[in-house]
Amino acid sequence: MGILVKNLEKSFGQPPTRVLKNLSFEIKEGEFVAITGRSGSGKSTLLYTLSTLDPLTSGSIKLDGKEISKLENVELHQFRNLRMGFVFQFHYLLPELTCLENILVPARKTNRHEALEKTALGLMEDFEITHVKDKVPGKISGGERQRVAIARALLMKPKYLFADEPTGNLDSISSEKVLRIFERVNKKDKTTILMVTHDMGYAGRAGRRIGLVDGEIDFDRKRKT
């Protein structure tokens, strides 16, 4: 069913500063959408609001037909655990856990970490990081860390993957690997991906680009196939 956004407004501070201004759009299931814009354009705020991490000021966001502002706490946490995956610019891996244990962290919420170990190993193989399975994040490269973080985000087979500048801290080779993973996951598993990036080249790899300027949609284009 995807994400349906109507008249979304988000303001900060006192007096309120409007960061997102009356946005309305729809993201269909299985789409790979890049949200672009300059610094301060509101692209990260839009991602956090769509992903339920940041409450909206007014308007409506429906995720799979459910109004997210009306979700109960328990429902919201279930939603995040089972239907959403997050990848940030910084990996935020737990330094005291091995890479495999880090990937399995979301499954600990529902005590399914043992059952999902095979899935985790499968993801590691797909992302070519099996060799770091028993290493702690401090002992591996930045690119490998980000791939571990992506594997963690995908462990629960989420319907939506939210990525905030996932290549922001990576060199071009590692960034390319991350983007290929995104493309593959989107194509193979039909995972809906929303990726914030300021790099127009990487944004071009997505099936659709939404450009923001000062909290308003500047453009909303689909890639020509």
Binding site: L53, Q78, M84, V105, R108, K109
Partner: protein, 415 residues
């Protein structure tokens, strides 16, 4: 979350060990201080209780006040004193001891009782004489109502019932008088009459005041010596449960004019000291535990600040506020429990060591080394204090962590 909590703790072994040591040493100090204070107290109490009685019944002693004679001359009469009276309306013997005997025989809470009659006499031998309290007892009853038989160091207390004017002296009194068992002594009453007696043995309660100034003799001999046959000046009562001594004494005191006192009322100065000790002990222990808890609090607080980003990512993965509280609270609990267990181990070892320290006898007391109480309740309190320090030290950082908004953290980390 226990898995993550333990991993976070073990990834900082030095901090974790220091926190556990802090709590452990606090608990050790509590156990050692409590062990010594309570050990000393238990011995004192045992000596006081056992050498006297759980409850003692003695003649009434009421102060004479300005209103004592109101209504004495005729109903409603008032007495106007030119100068206020300073006197006591007291008796040297119980008015109706048989009434008490009947009552005590029927009371199921009474283990045993012993009638006594005490007089002040001079004990003399050759040129040495000392004022003492001569207590007339029925030996067979006295050994049931008190632990005097266990305090005997020479002779048998029951020998007093064999016949003849026999006395049993405190060991230190015997030494001061230079007399041995079967030796002869003279007892001089208030009228100056001398009564020869034979020493049947010696006791040692460990309390110098008693051992220096008390002698036992057969009840009827003491009554005869005082020319007051049949009089009883005190009844020593042993209860089945010593803990009920005060309540029982208070209850019996309502039955008549006689003075009924429990052992702790009779030695009120000791109980005041014990209360003061308790206050000192708990104040000191709480200070130690609070200092240890601050150590844990600081460590957990630091971990929470360092782990802000990870808290945010956990929240984004569906872990709720309760999970985050558990993550840090469990760390506090773990430190508290480990510190408590370590403290109990170290505390036991320290107490075992302290018990071996001898400092020589103090006068004629039997206490010649550090006395340790091994009460289970002390260890339970020690462990609970350690546990609580972990609970409180863990709760506040955990609550702070759970209240962090993931989005605020991500924005702050991103900026």
């Amino acid at each position: 979350m226990l898995f993550l909590a333990l991993r976070q703790l073990f990834s900082r072994p030095r901090q974790t060990v220091l926190a556990i040591l802090g709590i452990g040493l606090g608990t050790t100090a509590f156990l050692a201080i409590s062990g010594m204070m309570l050990g000393f107290r238990e011995v004192i109490i045992r000596q006081l209780v056992n050498s006297t009685a759980h409850v003692s019944i003695t003649p009434h002693e009421d102060p004479v006040t300005e209103h004592s004679l109101d209504g004495f001359f005729f109903p409603g009469s008032l007495v106007k004193w030119i100068s206020p009276p300073v006197a006591k309306d007291e008796s040297l013997h119980l008015d109706f001891p048989q009434g008490w005997f009947d009552r005590l025989d029927q009371d199921p809470s009474v283990e045993a009782y012993a009638p006594q009659f005490s007089v002040q006499v001079l004990i003399s031998r050759t040129k040495v004489s000392r004022p003492i309290r001569l207590m007339g007892v029925v030996a067979s009853r006295q050994i049931k109502a008190t632990d005097i038989q266990e305090d005997m160091v020479e002779g048998n207390f029951q020998d007093l019932d064999k016949g003849g004017f026999l006395v049993i002296l405190g060991r230190s009194l015997g030494e001061k008088m230079g007399v041995r068992k079967d030796g002869a002594i003279n007892l001089i009453d208030a009228r100056g009459a001398s009564h020869p007696a034979k020493v049947a043995g010696f006791f040692d309660t460990g309390i110098t005041d008693i051992d220096d100034t008390l002698a036992y003799a057969p009840l009827h001999y003491v009554q005869q010596l005082n020319k007051t046959p049949g009089e009883i000046s005190q009844i020593a009562v042993r209860l089945k449960d010593v803990a009920l001594a005060r309540a029982t004494a208070d209850q019996w005191a309502l039955l008549g004019r006689d003075k009924v006192q429990s052992w702790d009322q009779a030695f009120a100065n000791f109980t005041t000291v014990f209360k003061f000790q308790d206050i000192m002990r708990f104040t000191l222990s709480w200070i130690i535990v609070i200092v240890a808890a601050f150590g844990v609090y600081n460590i957990l607080n630091m971990i929470v600040i360092q782990k802000r980003g990870e808290i945010a990512i956990l929240r984004s993965m569906g872990f709720d506020q309760r999970d985050i509280i558990l993550l840090f609270f469990q760390q506090g609990l773990f430190l508290g429990v480990c510190g408590g267990l370590l403290g109990m181990g170290l505390g036991t070892l320290l107490c075992l060591y302290l018990e071996t320290i001898h400092f020589g006898g103090m006068g004629h007391t039997t206490i010649d080394h550090i006395l340790i109480s091994w009460r289970l309740s002390t260890y339970l309190i020690g462990f609970t204090l350690a546990f609580l320090s972990g609970v409180f030290a863990g709760f506040f950082p955990a609550r702070a962590a759970s209240r962090m908004s993931p989005i605020d953290i991500l924005r702050a980390e991103g900026s």
